[in-house]
């Protein structure tokens, strides 16, 4: 099983609902975020193009943050989800520095925090909070190893990209373009 998220940039309106839903669901303290929205505009008025992306931890298959964690706190969990064990984390920040996506932040309680793909919700058969809240339904979550899953189908049917592929991290976060 390999969990993945597929996000349709054509439908995302950049509303940040995914951000606030994550913050409340996961009790992320105000001032911090596990996900965020990026807007990229190219061209000059009036010949413009815009892409809007909801970004978070890429749940990399080849994760530098796991490799460089000195305590084993950062680890791969079920379905390839990269997680942090708060109790083991010494807050050294090596993972923060090594993440090419700037996806991790120091939690005020001392450990490092980041997107968990809402593993606590997945266990109960729900989707991640951000996916389930998105008003444009532009986010999809599922198992890449199941060819019948929505994510697999979308990746077969649509053009997509991953972020900073040259970093060789093999992200499990895909953007339909």
């Amino acid at each position: 099983m390999r969990y993945a998220m597929v996000i349709d940039t054509k439908k995302c309106v950049g509303c940040s609902d995914c951000v606030v839903a994550c913050q409340t669901e996961n009790k992320v303290p105000i001032g911090y975020a596990r996900d965020w929205v990026v807007e990229v505009t190219e061209g000059t008025y009036p010949h413009l193009q815009m892409e809007i992306r909801s970004e978070r931890c890429n749940q990399c298959e080849n994760a530098p943050c796991v490799r460089c964690c000195p305590t084993g706190s950062s680890h791969y969990s079920t379905g390839g989800i990269v997680l942090v064990k708060p109790r083991r984390c010494i807050g050294c920040g090596a993972c923060i520095t090594s993440c090419p996506y700037d996806a991790r932040f120091p939690h005020p309680k001392g450990h490092v925090d980041k997107c968990t793909f809402c593993d606590h919700r997945i266990k109960e058969g729900n989707g991640p909070a951000c996916v389930e809240v998105c008003p444009t339904k532009c986010m999809y979550f599922g198992n890449l190893d199941d060819p019948g899953s929505e994510v697999s189908k979308l990746l077969r049917q649509r053009r997509y990209k991953t972020l900073i592929p040259e970093a060789g991290t093999k992200p499990h976060l895909y953007f339909l373009t």
């Binding site: 509303c15 609902d17 913050q23 009790k27 303290p29 001032g31 815009m50 809007i52």
Partner: protein
């Protein structure tokens, strides 16, 4: 009594003992101390209470969850709700912040004089309500009850409106009419005999072509519509966006028409011209259902795309191509009527052009166009009939705005200044849930009215500009802490939703229904609120509707089948429209009778003077009105508004992204605070843009104070729509004041 009321910063009291200083870290610690749930082990969904959202007017139904410690945790959408389909918007999701906002009003406040200076003192509910009831009775006895007005936005309106009508006043006004959607309602009522309602009856779900003209859907997070637009996009619908700014939805559109501001009506007329000249209209529909087609044909004969090009800067080939695209999708096409449509004072005429275009394409009453809504009839809890008022709100502005069908907030404000209309001068206001100083344009007029009144009562959850002008401030608990009236929204299917309290009210706050009832009892109108408790009233209403409070506590929402299967018109069906002619009036008989152009006429609008730029404003998905800037969760997403400036203009003025500037408008009015510049290609050279609802001047709003600019204070030029009194607010121009450049926003 005149001029005795002045603005008081509620913070001057230091109520609640909060220090004013402190950066973000301080705010964070305070939030945590005040009960923000600790980040920690997450628990399964323990308890959930049904609610419907009160952050904006859409009122999506949802669930409020508490965590294992019994603290408010999160709010999610109700899957059975036809408005949100289980997905709230960012404001709704961030609604918890309203509860946890440590700057909330906590206890009743009464204006008093100390050492010759006006200030507030804390009061008990008994004292505050006794005082208000006594003053209202005195004012009604002296000047007549009609001189008491209510300004309201949101659920509390129902209760205070009942109180006012029991007294004999019909002056109940919501800024959502004359400051927002009124011109559109009047335009569609005069054309189709029916308005668009809220939520709008646009059948976006099934449309094949959605035309947005001045509506940045997605940035204005009108939940159901955004959801349906996304579905339509996925099904391959065409979106045509007309906007001087490269809005988010412009970026998703097949066609973006970067129109010169203030010229939309010319484009609409040119589209109409093409559709008639090329015979692209729905002939059978027009023949069967409309009135005045020949006059319309003659009227638009000369409004060619070439004519419109000179005005709008949109190329004729684009105008033709987009018109054909709409016609190809017809009748599954929507020329979207928009929402905040009060722009240039000819707004009813512009929206008439929108209504006409839809009629030509046969979209009204058709799948993918506009559906016919249905709703539940919620019975009133038994109460005596209201007395006949001696005068109605219309007499506040005699002979003006003949087609207004609701009271005008701005009109009542103007009529509260002595001398304007002596025959109907307002003496007392109750203001519930609307921050009038940031909502009505022409702040000076609002302040003059506030100074002239004998009594101002403000009911709100948060301190705001308006609370500083009150004689009595009544602190309301948030929607998460109270019951409210049954939500009854027009939709494809009738539906109702319940709001129940998820927790006890914090501090010494109370629900509006309780305040209105207590006032009514004190004034001798208790019969109008004859229920023992609101639970009893709701249960009675629910039972009449075939359910019960107990069932609604479990489901939150109840959907009903339609009474009639008439979501769309049947083919070949003759329809009686509620207009004078019984037809869709392309040529409007009621406009003609009232002395206005029966067909929309284009009038040019003023251009910015040298060195000035048109002030355009709009919405952001995470904020709404001028009421959310202090919400900790929402402020975290967007804590101030930016000023969008085109790079060409930025170079001329030496501005860089991140600089702070103040603005001066064409009448020499300066913004109180500075705004952060965002240099972007997404805006034209002739205008600047900012999101509405920032630049709060009340220090008690610790997160929002001094962050960004309040667009309303720069709107001294207001173009009033003579047809229905809408206050056009897009006719103001601003220039940059550079002294503050580089400084932070707060002063």
């Amino acid at each position: 009594m005149k001029s005795r009321r002045e603005f008081i910063r509620i913070s001057a009291l230091g109520l609640g003992g909060f220090a004013l200083a402190g950066g973000a870290g301080m705010a964070l610690r305070t939030a945590l101390k005040n009960g923000m749930p600790e980040a920690a082990g997450l628990t399964p969904d323990l308890t959930r209470t049904p609610t419907y959202c009160e952050v904006c007017f859409w009122r999506c139904a949802g669930w409020v969850y508490k965590d294992s410690e019994g603290k408010l945790w999160k709010i999610t959408g109700n899957d059975d709700d036809p408005l949100c389909h289980g997905r709230l918007c960012p404001r709704g999701t961030g609604g918890v912040g309203m509860y946890y906002d440590e700057d909330r009003l906590r206890t009743p406040l009464m204006r008093t004089v100390e050492n010759g200076k006006q200030t507030y003192r804390e009061a008990s509910w008994e004292e505050a309500l006794d005082y208000i009831a006594r003053r209202l009775k005195e004012i009604a006895a002296e000047h007549g009850p009609e001189c008491i007005a209510l300004f309201t936005h949101g659920s509390g309106g129902e209760y205070f409106s009942t109180l006012l009508q029991a007294m004999g006043s019909t002056s109940v006004a919501a800024p959502s009419y004359s400051q927002c959607r009124g011109p559109r309602e009047v335009a569609f009522i005069t054309t189709y005999g029916q308005g668009l309602e809220s939520p709008e009856i646009t059948d976006i779900r099934d449309t094949r072509c959605l035309v947005l003209i001045g509506s940045h859907l997605g940035e204005n997070m009108h939940n159901t519509q955004v959801q349906e637009m996304s579905d339509a996009l996925e099904k391959g619908a065409t979106i045509i966006t007309v906007d001087p700014r490269f809005s988010v939805v412009a970026g998703k559109s097949k066609y973006w028409l970067p129109i010169k501001p203030a010229t939309d009506l010319a484009l609409l007329l040119a589209w109409t011209h093409v559709i008639i000249a090329e015979e692209l209209y729905d002939k059978e529909y027009v023949e069967r259902h409309t009135y005045g087609f020949e006059q319309l044909r003659a009227h638009v004969r000369n409004f060619t795309p070439e004519w419109a090009y000179g005005i709008t800067t949109i190329e004729p080939v684009t105008i033709r191509r987009t018109a054909r695209e709409m016609a190809a999708a017809s009748p599954a096409v929507i020329i979207h009527p928009g929402r905040h449509v009060t722009w240039y004072g000819d707004d009813t005429q512009r929206l008439r052009a929108v209504a006409i275009l839809n009629a030509l394409l046969g979209s009204w009453g058709r799948r993918g166009g506009f559906f016919m809504p249905d709703r539940v009839q919620v019975p009133h809890y038994p109460r005596p009939p209201f007395p006949e008022p001696a005068r109605t709100w219309r007499e506040a502005f005699p002979e003006r705005y003949p087609l207004a069908d609701l009271a005008l907030a701005s009109g009542i404000c103007e009529a509260s200044i002595p001398g304007a209309t002596p025959e109907c001068n307002f003496k007392a206001w109750i203001v519930n849930g609307t921050n009038l100083l940031m909502t009505l344009p022409d702040q000076e007029q609002t302040k003059e009215a506030l100074r002239s009144l004998d009594l101002v009562v403000v009911v709100d959850t948060m301190p705001a500009e308006i609370t500083g002008w009150a004689d009595v401030v009544l602190p309301e608990c948030t929607y998460l802490e109270r019951y409210d009236i049954i939500r009854n929204s027009p939709a494809r299917n009738p539906n109702i939703a319940l709001r129940a309290p998820a927790t006890e009210p914090l501090h010494n706050t109370k629900p509006a229904y309780w305040m209105a009832k207590e006032l009514a009892i004190r004034m001798g109108f208790g019969d109008y609120f004859a229920w023992e408790s609101i639970e009893e009233m709701l249960d009675w209403q629910f039972k009449e509707l075939g359910t019960s409070l107990e069932e609604m506590m479990r489901t939150g929402v109840k959907n009903y089948p339609r009474n009639f299967d008439d979501l769309y018109f049947a083919d070949g069906q003759d329809i009686e429209f509620y207009t004078n002619t019984g037809k869709i009036e392309l040529w409007s008989t009621s406009m003609e009778a009232a002395g206005f152009d029966p067909l929309p006429v284009y009038t040019p609008h003023e251009e910015p003077p040298e060195g000035y730029y048109r002030l355009n404003y709009g919405r952001a998905p995470m904020h709404t009105f001028a009421r959310t800037a202090n919400n900790p969760n929402l402020a975290d997403l967007m804590e101030e508004n930016d000023l969008w400036v085109n790079p060409v203009i930025a170079r001329m003025w030496g501005l860089n992204t991140g600089d702070y500037v103040r603005l001066r408008n064409q009448d020499g009015i300066d913004s109180t605070f500075a705004i952060r510049v965002r240099v972007t290609e997404r805006i034209r050279w002739d205008s600047v843009y900012m999101v509405h609802g920032f630049g709060h001047a009340d220090r008690r709003l610790k997160r929002a104070y001094g962050r960004g600019i309040n667009d309303t204070e720069l709107m001294s030029r207001v173009h009033i729509d003579p047809i229905m009194g809408g206050t056009g607010m897009r006719g103001n121009f601003v220039t940059f004041i550079l002294d503050d450049k580089g400084k932070e926003a707060r002063s």
